[in-house]
Amino acid sequence: MSIKKHKKVKVTFTHIGVYLALFVFLLPFLWMILASFKTQVQILNTSKIFDITANFDNYKSIFKEYSFLTFIINSFIVGMGSTLLGLILGLPAAYSIARHKQQGLGLLILVARIVPGISFLIPWFIIFSKLQMIDTYTALILSHMLVTMPFIIWVMIPFFEGLPLELEESARVDGCTIPGAFIRVMLPISGPGIITSSILAFIFSWNNFMFSLILAGDKTKTLPIAIFNFISYSDINWGGLMAASVIITAPVLILALLAQRYIIAGLTGGSVKG
């Protein structure tokens, strides 16, 4: 009886511990959402934390006064472009590295993931300035590809390694060239891996701050830069800032929920299954 009771107490404590931790980790998000529905006066009054008007004024204002739609579109163009081009360059490379055990190249890709991005920021700025490409989508997409492509390769190598080799061979017996077999047979059965790596690559591009800080301008400003500019005003519009934060994080959180099963495996390069 007492052992049973002891066990029950332990189970209860475990649940309290886990859910309390979860609450603490979600608190900043709740705080962000709460503040995004408050007026400036309500935010400045700390005696009534839960006093909210619950209207969408902050959301309306960031679209009207700060033209947020432009930044959302910019982030989408850069994210989509760099993910798509990252796939086009990355998938064949990952396939070849997996298939032919080109470990030297695998290492190069790993190094590309390790090297601090800031070490090529100055040359990029100089070169793109000379080419008059600052504030163009091309420059942003090229720079973000250095995030998306190595990541896609990194995730896809173990994935391709797990595919049966015979498939490519039987396609070749049927008269396919290797690129033909790759496109018609291997890629279609790699759907789950490609979708996961694309979602994560898109999230990395969407979240990227440092490259856009240097290479984006008024025309191509992406969301992270746009919300960062919010705090350079002396009087911070907190409600607007939090509404903007909700808008920038919401798509990422939704994508993450879709790809949740693969995120840990993706972030650790397949070395850990989530």
Partner: protein
């Protein structure tokens, strides 16, 4: 033609990616190295002037550089150590029978995928001395309020808290995946022998978890050394230079003061530090019998 492609498929498939990495990464790092031996302010009229090792010499006499190095290590070690301890604890809690575990695991993913700049700005509001919830909380407890991100003494711990919030769940989920895959036998044997929970943890769980922990810590460390977004979005290295890690200092030297040579020298040193620490830990991990 298609025959030629098939025979050289190794190179046809990899060349575009390799050329891209060469153009966008290897060449620029080489250019940074070249610039680090010159003095230049990015002006079109005055070209770069060769100064040999002058920039490097100056850096090692620059107090701010030494400080930024120390801040980088302080941030990395404090953040990763805290995340590891909390993450392992959380993972062990979650390795029990939990109602709604799937949803809990999913929700724990959110801090690490949320846009870092937005995360930083949310924390700026949380830490805001007059209206932030951090001080409201302290007041409710009857404790003195703090300046957090605008205090020279508290800015680094405050930033570390943000990093811990962002990344503890990742360590926890990696460790949890490791725990799930551990063999059951040693635990059962220890239970029968009457080992205490703490003994089981120290003598069985931790040693078996070592490879997983190595991977988690390595990944976290490489990223923690390079932390930029969170710091730049919240403090830009301030107040003064109290949170100016080497990454931020490099950015400030290059893009605010346009001391291109000096910044390039700093970035080369940073590059070498990050790369050698990464390679060193990867080798260490290999010796511990873990594959990449």
């Amino acid at each position: 033609m298609s025959n030629w492609i098939d025979r050289h498929i190794k190179w046809v498939f990899t060349m575009p990616a390799v050329i891209f990495v060469g153009l966008m990464m290897v060449m620029p790092v080489g250019y940074t190295l070249w610039l680090s031996f010159h003095e230049w302010s990015m002006s079109n009229i005055d070209p770069p002037v060769w100064v040999a090792l002058e920039n490097y010499k100056n850096l090692f006499q620059d107090e701010l550089f030494i400080k930024s190095l120390w801040l980088m290590f302080y941030f990395t070690i404090a953040a990763v150590a805290t995340e590891t301890v909390l993450g392992v604890g959380l993972a062990i809690l979650m390795n029990q029978h939990i109602v709604g575990k799937g949803i809990v695991k999913t929700l724990f993913l959110l801090p690490m995928v949320a846009t870092p700049v937005a995360v930083g700005l949310i924390w700026v509001l949380i830490y805001e001395p007059n209206i932030g919830i951090a001080n409201v909380f302290l007041q409710k407890l009857g404790l003195p309020v703090q300046e957090w991100l605008t205090s020279q003494d508290l800015v680094m711990p405050s930033l570390i808290v943000i990093d811990v919030w962002e990344w503890t769940p990742m360590i926890a989920l990696i460790v949890l995946a490791g725990l799930v895959s551990l063999p059951k036998d040693p635990f059962e044997a220890a239970m029968i022998d009457g080992a205490s929970t703490w003994q089981i943890f120290r003598k069985i769980t931790l040693p078996l978890l070592k490879p997983t922990l190595y991977s988690a810590i390595l990944l976290r460390m490489i990223d923690a050394l390079k932390t930029f977004d969170i710091i730049y979005a919240t403090t830009q290295g301030g107040p003064g230079t109290s949170s100016q890690t080497i990454n931020i200092y490099g950015y400030v030297l290059g893009f605010q003061y346009f001391k291109i040579g000096q910044a390039s020298a700093l970035l080369m040193i940073f590059f070498v530090i990050v790369l050698s620490i990464s390679i060193f830990t990867i080798l260490l991990r290999k010796r511990a019998g873990v594959n990449l």
